[in-house]
Symmetry: C2
Subunit: 280 residues, 2 copies
């Protein structure tokens, strides 16, 4: 077996029609050792049942998706968002993963246009979560999203910006690197600074996600491709992340309706083949 | 009249169903003093006829769209692209505008994934055009495109990167600033460095385009909004560009099918109203 395959993790967004049970059993059947779980799906199967199932199957949970979405137009809204993040941290701990992926949120709903202020809300929100995350042994992984999501999903749009945030918040967390970054090739591949920022992120890279960018993109949200179907230099990016010292799981996370229409076992088989061919 | 309206220019992509004649006459009727023309539409109406028409109507041509698309998989392909750019430069000169907007091109067709090499092809291509552009009195305006176009339309994806290119090529053009940048809010609004880069671009800002970013974006290509319908801090960006010293025309360029379905005169009236309300 390709040595890299030992690091493959299925982010369950890739097999959207599978619940936790089907995805975990599918991973076990396919010899995929890790899984990235989504909160909605964990809730549907039950938190305790999900934790037990992955333990019984011997799977490790590479991350929980997702916390974040900090900005809101009102203080009450921001407090509610923080409460939701605390629940996500508790769930991550219960599932036995130490990584909560943060999609930081876009501009506040209701006509907000002030990017700088939304970015400040993100920084303030993460800072406030740090002690709670530390108590639960969970690290907060800031995932910069592609700039095309700046309006509605993440005002954190580049790895450099996520690194700035991780470093300023890391300093606040008194040496314990409770905040880091999650690097998804789809979101960062276009960036002229990406290799420099990957190297810089070395001390606090908490995750690495692969998929592909189709050109031209067929859809804003659902246009991600299977590795090899697009234009991203996957192997070069994977090597850069490895050379920076990251040795953790590599999640395959693909939002793509055509892929979702395939039987999950086929998606997993294709994922493994393409991972071996294009990532390692 | 709002003083800013004197700087309004209609980029004819906004009134896609109008040809050069209808758009130019529409501008004259609406009291819009400048127009940004597209090569295909100029070709359809005739280069000489287009030049005469805008002159007769007293319109100034704020720019010609577009040159660029430099990368190609073969040397012959790259040469053909340069020839096409030379024709575009000649057309700009014939139309009486000194600005050719460059959309620099994505990865070469046919499976190319090497971003660095495509970026080098862009730099080499522009460098080669400089003497020809200078002879014709035409400046080359690098328009960085939103990173979501990195695969298929422009490997130049941020204003910082365009500035780097303009500065390195500007140095090569022996003091004559033959290469500059065109700033379109749609493409740069998300960038944490945008205000710094707007200030930096001051000596060579050749154009400024406004429209809006709808959140969430309904479409990759056709999702641009009318000013005020989206989330971009238009007035803040316009002021920043002005404070940097730019005093030229401000083109409204909107690719949006719903807008294209409206009668052109209505689009122009709406454009003027929204320009006054959200840009100035």
């Amino acid at each position: 077996m390709n040595a890299g395959l030992a690091r493959l993790s299925l982010n369950q967004a890739t097999t959207q029609r599978w619940g936790v049970k089907e995805a975990a059993e599918g991973c076990a059947r396919a010899g995929v050792a890790a899984i990235g779980l989504w909160r909605e799906k964990v809730a549907a199967y039950g938190l305790k049942a999900s934790a037990e199932l992955v333990r019984e199957l011997g799977l490790s949970v590479s991350s929980l998706c997702r916390g974040g979405f900090f900005p809101a137009a009102t203080a009450a809204g921001r407090r509610a968002n923080l409460d939701e993040n605390r629940r996500a941290i508790e769930e991550a701990a219960a599932l036995g993963t130490d990584i909560l992926v943060l999609v930081c949120g876009g501009l506040p709903e209701g006509g907000g246009r002030d990017l700088a202020s939304a970015r400040q809300m993100v920084a303030d929100g993460i800072a406030e979560l740090i002690p709670f995350a530390a108590e639960h042994g969970v690290k907060l992984g800031i995932e910069p999203l592609h700039p095309m999501f700046a309006g509605d999903r993440s005002v954190i749009v580049s790895l450099g910006q996520a690194n700035d945030l991780a470093e300023s918040l890391g300093a606040e967390s008194l040496g314990a690197q409770q905040v880091g970054v999650v690097i998804d090739v789809y979101h960062v591949w276009w960036d002229p600074q990406v290799y420099r920022e990957i190297a810089r992120a070395a001390p606090y890279t908490l995750g690495f996600h692969v998929n592909d960018w189709l050109a031209p993109p067929p859809d804003v949200l659902m246009g991600r491709g299977m590795m090899g179907d697009g234009v991203i230099e996957l192997r070069r990016l994977r090597r850069a992340v490895d050379e920076a010292g990251y040795t953790g799981p590599i999640e395959v996370e693909i939002f793509n309706r055509d892929l979702w229409d395939l039987p999950g076992d086929e998606v997993l088989a294709l994922t493994k083949a393409r991972f071996a061919e294009h990532v390692f």
